[in-house]
């Protein structure tokens, strides 16, 4: 039997090529999925909206300032001030505190929306910070968790 001359790439090179191909494909799919699928923002390991029901605070407005006391265990990032008018709930303004920890209180100047000012029957709706592995983002709680001011 004569010597058979092998041709083509070696098994080692072929394996390396296949693994490289699989890795590149996996990276492309991961990159695409990461940009397409939205990350869920969490608070205390649960969807951020779930934390709203544990928020306890009181709020008072004096002049153009708002005083907030955080009475619960959820840090409050800020409040959005709204009021009910005929057939609508309009945004008056907002105030942010960074992070107001449990038991703490602070006074902040309200940033009014254009053309808005302090009015009667206002409510302060809490804003908390939702977290993902990469960023934090303010989340405005549903109005039912607001407090009259």
């Amino acid at each position: 039997m004569g010597l058979i001359k092998k041709r083509g790439i070696s098994p080692v090179v072929a394996t390396v090529l296949l693994i490289s191909l699989a890795l590149v494909l996996a990276m492309i799919i991961f990159w695409w999925a990461r940009s397409t699928i939205k990350e869920q923002e969490l608070k205390f390991g649960a969807p951020v909206g779930e934390a709203c029901k544990d928020i306890k605070f009181n709020a008072d407005i004096s002049g153009e300032n708002i005083r907030i006391n955080n009475l619960g265990n959820v840090p409050i990032y800020g409040v959005e001030i709204r009021r009910k008018i005929s057939g609508a709930v309009e945004r008056i303004g907002s105030a942010t505190f960074g992070t107001l920890q449990s038991g703490a209180g602070t006074v902040k100047k309200i940033e009014f929306a254009p053309g808005k000012e302090v009015a009667s029957d206002m409510i302060a709706v809490p804003i908390i910070l939702g977290e993902t592995a990469r960023y934090t983002k303010p989340f405005i709680c549903p109005e039912e968790f607001g407090e009259p001011v």
Binding site: R7, T36, K38, E41, G49, C52, E80, R82, K84, I85, S86, G87, A88, V89, E90, R91, A113, K137, F139, I140, C141, P142, E143
Partner: protein, 180 residues
């Protein structure tokens, strides 16, 4: 003994294989890319399936009757989560008669004339509710000689292929009751 080689050379065979692979990728890609894009377009509404809801806290969602007309007032609220809210450009409201055999549709877009006979309650400029926007809830008036039983709301989102936007699936519906 000398073996006479027949067939293509290695170089030509390799070139042919590469060409075949490239052609295959181009042909399959030409089918897969539009297919994937269309499929993703169809899922664009997924984030907005519960974006709008009817709001009872403003005391409306009812109708009164006068002069042979039915005057409907209802309130729509945007969800608290304002993510992707900038993509919502309007809302469609659909009125359905008892049994659903008759219907009427009205469209509201921020800053545009309202189509379909709907008017803003309280003299507000045409607008839609938006979390973090000027209004988180808004009420609308509608008058018709037809007695409708149900009203439904549908978000309209930006669509690169259609300036009028894309109407998503129903967000919410309510049964209209007579105002007290």
């Amino acid at each position: 003994m000398m073996i006479k080689k027949r067939g293509l050379s290695v170089v030509v065979a390799s070139m042919l294989l590469i060409l075949l692979a490239v052609s295959g990728v181009v042909i399959i890609g030409g089918y897969l890319i539009p297919f994937t894009r269309d499929s993703l377009d169809n899922t664009a509404c997924f984030d907005f399936r519960d974006y709008f809801s009817f709001d009872d806290s403003l005391g409306f969602n009812c109708y009164s009757q006068s002069g042979g007309k039915n005057n409907y007032v209802f309130s729509v609220r945007a969800r608290a989560d304002n993510s992707s809210a900038e993509k919502v450009i309007g809302l469609n409201v659909r009125f359905l008669t008892l049994g659903g055999d008759g219907s009427s549709i009205a469209t509201v877009k921020k800053g545009s004339a309202i189509v379909g006979g709907l008017t803003m309650h309280g003299g507000i400029s045409p607008d839609i509710p938006k979390a973090g926007g000027a209004y988180s809830a808004l009420s609308y008036d509608y008058a018709s000689g037809v007695l409708y039983e149900t009203v439904e709301v549908y978000p309209i989102i930006q669509d690169p292929k259609n300036l009028d936007g894309k109407v998503c699936e129903k967000s919410d519906s309510i049964k209209l009751i007579k105002c007290k």
